[in-house]
């Protein structure tokens, strides 16, 4: 049901003014091949059945919708958590990688590559590659290799080769550049498993479709639990795949507010990752969207304490949702995210990823109604060292 829904973008991959396919000529035929293969697969009942089986048996879906009672008391409103942290490998990323690698096998590709920021997408791709028996190379910014070391070890254990990228800001943006360079070189044999709703058409809509299981489940679960829809759904936004996955379940419910939470880093006047709040239209990684750039069109460095939100762009579907007003976007600083992290640990016994902690922190502000669903996109094991090192980290004192 999720896969066979029609694309949200137009035939050229545009969501309003955002999206498209801005890539070197070498990749144009490969993206056309991928678009055709995906269009065929999503309508194929066998493919859908195989994908659903993977979601059930490998990922462990459905993930629970969990009523956070003590956190709700603290916030003075009802907070429900969509527990993607309980998915296999510890984040929502696996929903997408299993679908893409299944498609890659169907297309006869012999090798997969991926970029990763926090390492969750890299782990999820390495897992899917191991499951299907394909070799896997993961590009990761050298800064992220240091701050997310646990995931680097996990990827290597799963048989993936992890390539540190020293160029530029040595974070997610540069890892995507390097993965694209690999793809330009090995496009005949290789599928590039992009980890978010970014990149050239058909990636943004394809990844969104593969993640929309989050929102479909959450909507059914909240109706069953409460007999009503929530006032808002709230999710963190880096590239924005877990947020789009959650939001898509509620597009046709105008009474449900969609709230994306960007990384304000050190504050919006300092270094941050808030491409919707502070970005301007630009072309990055194959799509037109909102990006952080200077007046000559050079991409500027993003910053977030969370490696998964440390990205100077955002998926084109989010740029479109912001432009139309269907979703609203707010931001949360590193400091506030650490407070949200601590609150969830102590109130519920749940250690969230720092990315997801941004969404929790915003939910605690209580701006979006009495009943909210928060996308808990991943678990925080990978972040314990970063949190422990964070200045003034009272939580581990």
């Amino acid at each position: 049901m999720t896969l066979s829904a029609p694309p949200v973008c137009d035939a050229s991959g545009f969501f309003g003014d955002f999206g498209g396919r801005y890539v070197p000529e070498i990749l144009v035929p490969a993206l056309q091949e991928l678009e055709d293969a995906w269009a065929e697969a999503r309508r194929d009942a066998d493919f859908a059945a195989r994908y659903e089986q993977l979601l059930r048996d490998v990922v462990g879906r459905p993930t629970p919708l969990y009523e956070a009672r003590r956190l709700s008391e603290r916030a003075g409103r009802r907070i429900l958590l969509k527990r993607e942290d309980l998915a296999h490998t510890g984040a929502h990323k696996i929903n997408n990688t299993l679908g893409q690698v299944l498609l890659a096998v169907r297309m006869g590709k012999e090798r997969v590559i991926a970029e990763t920021g926090a390492g969750q997408h890299g782990v999820a791709t390495a897992t899917a590659a191991a499951y299907f028996g394909l070799p896997c190379v993961v590009y990761m910014g050298a800064l992220d290799v240091r701050r997310q070391h646990l995931n680097v070890v996990r990827m290597r254990m799963l048989g993936a080769e992890v390539v540190p990228v020293e160029a530029g800001s040595a974070t997610l943006k540069d890892a995507i550049n390097e993965a694209l360079r690999d793809w330009v070189t090995n496009v005949d044999t290789t599928h590039y498993v992009i980890g978010s709703v970014v990149g050239p058409h058909p990636y943004p809509d394809m990844v969104a479709a593969l993640q929309s299981v989050i929102g479909d489940e959450a909507r059914a679960q909240v109706l069953e639990a409460l007999g009503a829809l929530p006032d808002a759904v709230i999710a963190c936004v880096g590239g924005g795949s877990n947020a789009i996955g959650l939001f898509r379940g509620f597009y046709d419910d105008p009474g449900v507010r969609l709230v994306g939470v960007e990384a304000a880093g050190e504050g919006l006047s300092g270094r941050h990752g808030a491409s919707i709040a502070r970005g301007t239209p630009g072309v990055l990684h194959g799509a037109r969207s909102l990006v952080l750039q200077d007046d000559q069109g050079l991409i500027t460095h993003a910053h977030s304490i969370s490696a998964g939100l440390d990205y100077p762009g955002v998926g084109p579907e989010h740029a479109w949702l912001a432009a139309t007003g269907r979703a609203r976007y707010v931001s949360v600083t590193d400091r506030e995210a650490l407070d949200g992290f601590a609150a969830l640990c102590r109130s519920e016994g749940v250690v969230p990823a720092l990315e997801s902690a941004h969404a929790v922190a915003h939910a605690l502000r209580g701006e979006d109604g009495d009943v909210v669903v928060v996308g808990l996109s991943g678990r925080g094991d990978k972040d314990v060292a970063v949190v422990a090192e964070a200045a003034d980290a009272a939580i581990v004192a």
């Binding site: 396919r21 000529e25 144009v28 035929p29 694209l180 330009v184 000559q296 069109g297």
Partner: protein
Amino acid sequence: MSSLLEHLRDRSRGGRRLLVPYVVAGLPEPEAYSQVLAALAEHADALEVGLPYSDPLMDGPVIASAAQRALRAGVGPLHALDLTAGAVSGPRIAMTYYNPVHRAGEDAFCERCARAGFAGLIVPDLPLEASAPLRAAAARRDLAWIPLVAPTTPHARVAALAGSATGFVYAVSTLGVTGRRESLSERAGAVVAACREVTDLPVLVGIGVSTPEQAYEAATFADGVVVGTAVVEKVLEEGAAAARDLLARMREALDRL
């Protein structure tokens, strides 16, 4: 006909092969850049100038780090255009990623190119389907359009790409980013042949053409070559004179044909 095409036709009279060196703007540092341009121009039929960009995804390590070096010296993509204006003999072609063009506005960008004396434009990450407005803006200012044709380009698409060219057709020799290769790719010949079937514009081979031998081999079936990484390496490691000498040897090799 664009001025660039007219110039290239003139230079290729009698079967003479074309040599187009590439350099990143602002190398080795902004103060010494004009000497580099002058040295390269001695053996160039046209000069391709790379505008430094933060995320050059078609470039291998040599050109990508050269662009980083130029950016650190304060040479952004628009500044690079102005820095290249002035006295260099022969036409110049700007190679830029699309975002700086988008940021400036397509018309404003072309205006600035033309004012800086450029005669052509290469935008490697702007596919044919999205390039019509920029091609129109370029044509209004006599900036020749130079599309890339790749080994993966299907036959029907080659005709459309070549049909968009108003300067020359850039035949990408191999799959991959800019940089040295041990030998010229076996796929280069097929790319050039596919272009030949559908255009009578000059077809030049680029990417992985680094030695006089490789230039000679490519020019046995193409109208000329674009040489990037080898030139940038020479400029940075041995200086402008060494880069000029490399081009002189390439010119000799091409003239054996």
